[in-house]
Amino acid sequence: MSMVTTYLSWALLVLGGFLCVSGSVGLLRFPDFFTRMHAASVTDTLATGMILAGLMLQAPTWIVFGKLVMILVFVLLTGPTAGHALAKAALHSGLKPLLPGKSGKIEADTHPSAGGV
């Protein structure tokens, strides 16, 4: 039993760590604000959730487990909300996402502020 939880916990931790790294790469390399933000918010929720789940499996007492659950709930509430607020603020101030043009290729929006943050 403890062997299984240990392996499962490590699998979750490593996967969470990998998502953190891939999220950071996405944040640096994605073409426009909205895709970058997507990378950041995936890191925020999924990676943090996986790391917390991995830690929960190793929690020595129920109190620690409960605290981790509370942190998870808090992260799940705030992360997506922050992403939503960011995206909304960006759209509100006139930033348009990069979309495929008529030719099917992604082209920069004509809006002067598009693309750069």
């Binding site: 909300t81 939503h84 607020a85």
Partner: protein
């Protein structure tokens, strides 16, 4: 391994500091300053200074970021001095000053004992006494709380008075002109349904956490300063999402100013009560039938006074700044 993490965090601190100097957008600078605070907090955790880390995270990364953002919404987002030829903008002078001061500070560290050295004054002076006797004299698990609230009660009283004075200063500078009819604030976030619902879920949790930090300060990291800041941030969140007019209905101006003074008064009264009972100022041993009980009561009330003052002053500063901005009618 640990020194490896130290090096990483310290180099991130340096990078952030350089970025703060280089970036011209003050909004980004504020965010970088918040990151700087969070990094410092992580560093303090590595140094096993959990109370300091908690304070840094709550104050440095949290509340000061919000307050600076509020200020920025009044003053504008970009530096103006550099473009104005008549201004006294002399970056070379500032750089020279900073370089000289930094060099002197680094020179000063030559005489300091190595980090963690056994013969350092911090290990030989009063700290051993606190560490050895706190368990019997004060009997609370968190020695930081017993040093802060009991052994060093005068210092903490001074800190609370400083915060109170800051609140009065802000009021004296800004409030006098802003006391006229409260303009109905355009609910700038009216359309943000998601934010409003989530914040409605979070505000009670933030307040409960604030109270937990307040009354758990004797048992773990926390105490009045952190709790006051966390408690105030719940009000900030409410004011930002539901508008100042709604927030003003929750927080009465007169009451909040009275509360700011009440916290300091409570702290001082505990000291005076100890004097009435025959002890020295802030000598909690004289508060109850036996010494340890007295210490517990003293620390509880003193921390409560700190919490009330800090929370009220933060709310006062935030509301005063926001009201000012609203009155000036500047766009966001």
């Amino acid at each position: 391994m640990e020194s490896f993490i130290h090096i990483i965090i310290l180099s991130m601190l340096v990078t952030t500091a350089v970025a703060i100097v280089r970036v011209k957008d003050l909004f980004a600078v504020t965010m970088l300053a918040g990151i700087y605070g969070l990094l410092s907090a992580s560093f303090f955790v590595l140094m096993d200074a959990h109370d300091v880390a908690f304070t840094e995270a709550a104050v440095g990364a949290g509340i000061s970021t919000i307050l600076i953002l509020t200020t920025l919404s009044m003053t504008g987002r970009f530096e103006k001095a550099a473009e104005n030829p008549k201004s006294n903008y002399k970056p070379a002078l500032a750089l020279a000053l900073v370089t000289v001061t930094g060099a002197l500070l680094i020179y000063g560290t030559q005489d300091m004992p190595a980090f963690g050295a056994a013969d350092a004054p911090v290990q030989t002076h009063v700290v051993p006494r606190y560490l050895n006797d706190s368990a019997t004299e004060i009997d609370i698990p968190n020695v930081v709380a017993s040093v802060l609230a009991s052994y060093r009660g005068y210092d903490t009283f001074g800190e609370v008075v400083v915060i109170f004075t800051a609140g009065i200063g802000v009021l004296a500078l800004i409030m006098s002109t802003a006391s006229k009819a409260p303009v109905a604030l355009r609910a700038s976030m009216e359309e943000h349904v998601v934010l409003r619902i989530v914040s409605k879920m979070l505000i009670p949790l933030i307040m409960i956490f604030g109270l937990y930090v307040q009354f758990h300060g004797e048992y773990g990291p926390g105490g009045g300063f952190q709790a006051g800041v966390i408690f105030a941030s719940a009000f900030f969140l409410y004011a930002m999402l539901f508008g100042l007019t709604a927030a003003r209905k929750v927080v009465n101006n007169t009451w909040i100013q009275a509360l700011a003074a009440l916290g300091v008064l409570l702290y001082g009264s505990v000291g005076v009560l100890a004097m009435i009972n025959g002890g020295n100022f802030l000598d909690y041993n004289f508060l109850a039938q036996d010494d340890v009980h007295g210490q517990h009561m003293g620390i509880l009330f003193v921390e409560l006074g700190v919490g009330i003052t800090v929370a009220s002053v933060m709310i006062i500063i935030f509301f005063t700044f926001s009201t000012r901005k609203q009155r000036d009618g500047e766009p966001d």
